[in-house]
């Protein structure tokens, strides 16, 4: 028998994101008959609004309200979940900044198996949950078997599970207040404040063309090569995380889940491998061109057009050709 499935619902200011519906889809991939229980933790009217918004997708919603839970502090929420959750269940959590903070420790406290960043769920055979993960930034995939006989905590990659069509339980959901089960919470980690990212000198989200560079740009002096191409195209230079880590460009240029979300018409990914965190920042279905020396780079799976070449040679020649065409048409 497949154990009961619980979905941890991430929410902010009363709004849940796509992951709430995606975790229903994930639960049904574990067990077609699953009717997962949503667990929503927070405080005040925001919490109630979040619970209300789940009535379309969940048939049972457990809410845990405490003033101290107003900001999602993983240390406190872990304690609350350990008190509320029955042992032996499967707990689904979105694999994002909060899920990474919460889930590994939660699995220890529940004495449950743990699998993170699952991209596909293949089903259950006996006591084994069969899933697919990726390693090496998406260069290879792996089949993973997880023994769920004492329960499991599974983090699911955002966007990996498509929500089911229609609305199976509209308006009928039961909201159960579990706050009384939680009791006093205390932690040696205290939330102080959230600091919003600095705007920086360029707003890359406003450009129709982005020349985006990754580790393949190799050194700071080479950034100029991308800058020249961006100028020729009337676009801007953006980048992936390693370029910011190396301090070659400012944080405001970073595309991805921990950087900016962009929606250009054309996205030239130059020397970018294409990690899921990076791709999460590209919206609006742009025309993606991948230029990379490594033909195995995952970026080629999502790009429209790929060129296997050394970008340090390719980009200057591309810029030169554009400038030639522009000087011809200007005459």
């Amino acid at each position: 028998m497949i154990p009961a499935i619980f979905a941890y619902i991430a929410h902010r200011a009363g709004l849940v994101d796509d992951s709430a519906a995606e975790l229903v889809a994930a639960a049904r991939q574990i067990d077609v008959a699953a009717s997962p229980v949503a667990i929503v933790i927070g405080s005040g009217t925001e919490l109630d609004v979040a619970c209300e918004s789940l009535r379309d997708s969940y048939s049972e919603i457990w809410k845990v309200a405490q003033p101290v839970l107003a900001h999602p502090n993983a240390e406190l929420i872990r304690q609350a979940l350990v008190k509320v959750l029955p042992r032996g269940g499967i707990v689904l959590v979105p694999h994002a900044h909060f899920g990474m903070d919460l889930s590994p420790g939660l699995s220890i406290k529940l004495n449950a198996a743990f699998v993170s960043d699952v991209v596909r769920i293949e089903g259950v055979e006996g006591s084994l949950l069969k899933v697919v993960r990726q390693e090496f930034g998406g260069q290879v995939s792996t089949h993973v078997n997880c023994d769920i006989s004492s329960g499991a905590v599974i983090t699911v990659r955002p966007g990996a599970c498509k929500p089911p069509e229609g609305s199976p339980v509209k308006g009928a959901a039961l909201v159960v207040d579990k706050s009384a089960d939680v009791g006093a919470l205390n932690t040696s980690r205290r939330y102080l404040q959230t600091v919003v990212a600095e705007a920086g000198d360029v707003d890359i989200s406003q450009y129709a063309v982005l020349v985006s560079i990754g580790r393949g740009i190799q050194e700071k002096d080479n950034v100029a090569i991308a800058q020249e191409l961006a100028e020729a195209l009337g676009g801007a230079v953006s980048c992936s995380r390693p370029v910011v880590d190396a301090k070659w460009l400012e944080k405001c240029r970073q595309v991805g889940s921990s950087g900016k979300t962009v929606k250009p018409k054309v996205y030239l990914a130059c020397g970018i491998s294409g990690s899921s965190q990076h791709l999460a920042g590209i919206k609006g279905n742009p025309f993606i061109v991948a230029i990379n020396k490594n033909p195995q780079a995952p970026i080629f799976q999502v790009a429209d057009v790929g060129i296997v070449d050394d970008l340090l040679e390719f980009l200057p020649e591309l810029t030169k050709k554009i400038r030639e065409l522009q000087s011809v048409s200007a005459k």
Binding site: A74, R78, H97, F98, M100, D101, G105, L106, S107, I108, A113, F114, D117, R133, E135, F136, G137, V140, T142, H143, V144, N145, D147, S188, R189, L192, Q193, T194, V195, A197, A208, V209, L233, G234, G235, R241, D245, K247, S257, S258, G259, K260, T261, K265, V266, F287, V289, Q296, F300, Q301, A303, D304, V305, G306, I307, D309, E313, L318, K321, L325
Partner: protein, 263 residues
């Protein structure tokens, strides 16, 4: 401050294309170049900077085999006071929980104020730090991108959250933090530095040294098992332009112009 950094030796993907063996049971490891997991190197640098400010020592520990000693020596050349190898046939096949169990046993042999890990290694699980913290009953924070030492055995830390925003927390010591890349600029390690620590002994501890029941680690109790590696079906995938560079540029410009990228 006594700081322990948990590190791992991994195939360096900036140096390698990852290929699978014919059965998909493993990577083709013959030609791989290994290095320290990049986030772990940032964690060691952060530890060195903290000790530079407030004194103390940095120990770098890894769970693995003799081959993994090279990253310990590299980090010692960088300035870490000690490298420690946790190695035993009984450890082979451990899942994340198994690795955290081994590390916990080592941590409890000493007195560490602060334990750092890299945010994740090559498998992208990002699990050992949080598990270790829960086992030790220490507070934990992931994705840490700045650390400030406060009075009264506390730290002020910043976590990376969505959109480049940062979440500021105060956390009591001892604690476990997973360190995000970009938190600092790791210092350069030259061959001379590595030679200088070449003969420094690196202690190795096995299950019995750590007082570990060999049945709680390794493959047997692992609840999570990797079955195989595979390269996913390409799906639609990119149309790869296979012409000369000049032809590719022409074709690309035509496509980009059609998509509104060049007027």
């Amino acid at each position: 401050m006594e700081i322990l950094v948990c590190a791992k030796r991994v195939p360096d993907t900036s140096e390698n294309e990852i290929q699978l063996n014919t059965t998909g049971s493993d990577l083709e490891r013959e030609e791989l170049v290994y290095s320290i997991n990049e986030p772990d190197n940032y964690a060691v640098e952060e530890a060195l900077q903290i000790v530079g400010q407030v004194g103390g020592s940095v120990t770098v520990v890894t769970v693995g085999s003799e081959d993994d000693e090279e990253i310990l020596r590299r980090e010692m050349a960088m300035g870490a006071n000690q490298g420690v190898l946790l190695s035993d046939d009984a450890f082979l096949g451990s899942d994340g929980r198994g690795v955290a169990t081994i590390l916990k046993a080592y941590v409890q042999k000493g007195h560490y104020d602060l334990i750092l890990t890299g945010v994740q290694a090559e498998a992208g699980a990002a699990e050992v730090g949080g598990m270790l913290a829960a086992m030790l009953e220490y507070p934990f924070a992931s994705l840490v991108n700045s650390i400030e030492i406060l009075e009264g055995r506390k730290l002020k830390i910043s976590r990376e959250i969505e959109g480049g925003n940062r979440e500021i927390n105060e956390i009591d010591l001892p604690c476990v933090l997973s360190i995000q890349t970009g938190i600092n600029e790791p210092r350069y390690v030259g061959m001379r530095g590595i030679r200088a620590v070449a003969s420094v002994p690196v202690p190795s501890y096995g299950a019995s040294d750590l007082g570990l029941d060999a049945n709680v680690v390794g493959a047997a109790p692992a609840k999570v098992k990797r079955v195989d590696y595979f390269v996913p079906a390409r799906g639609k995938g990119a149309e790869i332009l296979g012409g000369s560079r000049e032809e590719n540029i022409e074709k690309l410009l035509a496509l980009v112009t059609a998509k509104g990228g060049l007027s």
